[in-house]
Amino acid sequence: MIVHALAFYLFAAVVVASAVMVVMARNPVHSVLFLILAFFSAAGLFVLLGAEFLAMLLVVVYVGAVAVLFLFVVMMLDVNFAALREGVLDYLPYGLVVGLVMLVELGMLYGAWVTGPEVAMMATSPMPDIAQVSNTEALGQLLYTKYIYLFQAAGMILLVAMIGAIVLSNRQRDGVRRQVIANQVARTRKDAVEMKKVTPGGGI
């Protein structure tokens, strides 16, 4: 039990600390690396909760794809992050006040929360019994059995998005020089090299 608690506090502390560093780091590449650390530690928290599937998903999707994509974007775009961050200290007090007000509102909302009598009657638990199946299996049963129709429909929507992106942006442009291997191979020395008689001190 003590190991469990220790692990929780370790992961939680790392998540919070690296999240702060994501915002505060001077170098944007460091920010992204801290973001990856935050994702990793959050995955650790999910494992502690017994949600191993979500943990794996976080590592595979967020660390493996999203964060690496961020890294590419940050490296490829020459954005002056120091200029963007100017004046943070001026805005900090206002940000803190707004954050505090929202926190108090959230607390009040939570305190006054009541559930309608109909809801308990209506709410049906769609999830299979967690004692019998692992949560990966439970998710699979929901997604691919109960909600297969929605899953497939979502797949069709993604297909439409893909077709749309290609239709609207991929075009044959004039003046684009493409590599034609055959032409390169067919080039002879006669086409490419020209002999010039250069007089000393005269230049070409």
């Binding site: 109960k146 749309g164 609207l168």
Partner: protein, 486 residues
């Protein structure tokens, strides 16, 4: 949980369309843009096959029977059958009408028919939605395809603007719809239409949050049918989009979204008629008035048709507002007639070619009566019908919805509707005046495309002679309405 194949059969038309879209996409990719013509015809064929699958599937008998599949996410009933038939018909006609335009405007790209098939698939999902989640996914599948085809003419600034405007405003409306859906789920505890209907049945009080959610849901749906005050995108999108796309927009998505609205207000919220009736009445009145008044100043025929469609949606909502079986029947008849009139009108607009370029101004119609009497006659029939002058079909469409409104005591709505109809007649009749009495300018190109001529002839004859044999359509609409509201 095992799943038998039999469980999928109610959704056979949808499955056929999904597979067809993917096969056509692959075919197009391998054959290049030169294959657009054959892809278009194959897309039409797949829509027809989907219709046969729809008709041959085992149907619930008569009134109130329905087949629910996919754990309550999908429903198939007489109402859905009727609406899907209209949508499939509208999509096929729009595809056939696009053939000539795509060739002459140098827009032949095989993705167009594929996207129309995918949009049609989205509409079928919408019509068969029995859950807020399938409702949303259907709407998104449809809308995303429509955004793309609106901007399909990439090199035209107007088309790009139309696509972008449609996308931004459409995303906003989807946000409202989702917000409403989440409120409904939060307060009612379910997203399933049947469960929602059960929970409202004989409920003592309805919580305010639920009403707020319902209003947001209706706002999102009103955007999709372009009812005032959610109509702002319509004129710009109709004007900017390529004309065959406008023809498609004016018919199929409207039919699907109205079907969805009808199902939502009658099936889960049927018991809450006191709550939603006033919303529908206001939407309906505002749409009819704006459709009649704002169209008067338009010179571009596509913009004019946009305002006309806003007005017609208002008339269709009159039937829904009554909330009775008779009202739903009126809406269904209205939709058949609206579909035919609009397809015919757009066939004429697509034939408006002077010296090899499309013209869209109303003034270009001048002297059509002398230059091309048959085309002018077809246009005159459609205009008289859109204005609702007997004995054209358009009059009967209005007649049934107004009768339903009067029988359920909505006198103010019916009066506003009749007044708006008279005001609106002005601009339809002005087109006829320009065609027959103004001095001719340039003559239209003579040889009409065969498929355009055929569509115009059939639509014209239907509009002209609907009053001779309305019985089969009335019977079909009656049984479809009965399926929704037993």
């Amino acid at each position: 949980m095992t799943m038998a194949f039999a469980q999928f059969t109610p959704a056979l038309p949808e499955i056929i369309l999904a597979v067809a879209a993917m096969v056509l996409l692959m075919f197009g990719v391998f054959r290049g843009d030169g294959s657009t013509r054959s892809v278009t015809w194959m897309a039409v064929l797949s829509l027809v096959i989907a219709w046969f699958a729809l008709m041959s599937g085992d149907m619930p008998d008569g009134s109130g029977g329905k087949i629910v599949a996919f754990n309550g996410l999908f429903v198939n009933d007489g109402f859905g059958l009727f609406m899907k038939t209209l949508v499939l018909l509208a999509s096929s006609l729009a595809l056939i009408m696009s053939l000539g335009y795509m060739r002459t405007e140098n827009m032949e790209r095989f993705e167009f028919p594929v996207l129309i098939v995918l949009a049609t698939l989205g509409m079928l999902v919408m019509i068969s939605a029995n859950d807020l989640m399938s409702l949303y996914l259907g709407i998104e599948l449809q809308s995303l395809s429509l955004y793309i085809v609106a901007a399909f003419k990439r090199d035209s600034e107007k088309a790009t603007e139309a696509g972008l405007k449609y996308f931004v405003l459409g995303a906003l409306s989807s946000g409202m719809l989702l917000y409403g859906a989440s409120m409904i789920y939060g307060y009612a505890g379910s997203t399933n239409f049947d469960d929602l209907a059960k929970s409202f049945h004989g409920a003592e009080h309805i919580s305010v949050g639920l009403i707020v959610g319902m209003v947001f849901l209706f706002a999102g749906l009103a955007f999709k049918i372009s009812a005032v005050p959610f109509h702002m995108w319509t004129p710009d999108v109709y004007e900017g989009a390529p004309t065959p796309v406008t023809a498609f927009f004016a018919v199929a998505p409207k039919v699907a979204a109205l079907a969805l609205l009808a199902r939502v207000i009658m099936s889960p919220f049927g018991e809450l008629i006191d709550q939603w009736q006033q919303i529908i009445v206001v939407l309906s009145m505002a749409s009819m008035v704006l459709g009649a008044v704002a169209a008067v100043g338009q010179r571009n025929i596509k913009r004019l048709m946009a305002y006309s469609s806003i007005g017609h949606v208002g008339f269709a909502l009159v039937g829904l507002a009554s909330g009775t079986n008779e009202g739903v029947r009126g809406v269904l008849i209205y939709l058949i007639i609206y579909l035919v009139m609009n397809v015919g009108t757009f066939a004429v607009i697509l034939s408006m070619r002077v010296k090899d370029t499309m013209v869209e101004s109303i003034d270009d119609l001048a002297g059509l009566g002398r230059n091309q009497p048959l085309l002018a006659m077809a246009m005159a029939i459609f205009m008289f019908s859109l204005a609702g002058i007997p004995p054209m079909a358009g009059f009967f469409g209005k007649f049934y919805v107004f009768m339903a409104a009067i029988n359920s005591g909505l006198y103010a709505l019916a009066i506003v509707g009749v007044v708006a109809s008279v005001v609106g007649a002005f601009y339809y009749l002005r087109i006829i005046k320009i065609m027959y009495f103004d001095e001719p300018v340039e003559a239209f190109e003579k040889p009409l495309r065969t498929e355009m001529g055929a569509i115009m002839t059939v639509a014209g004859l239907f509009t002209l002679f609907f009053f001779v044999l309305p019985a089969p359509f009335l019977a079909a609409a009656q049984s479809a309405a009965q399926a929704l509201l037993p």
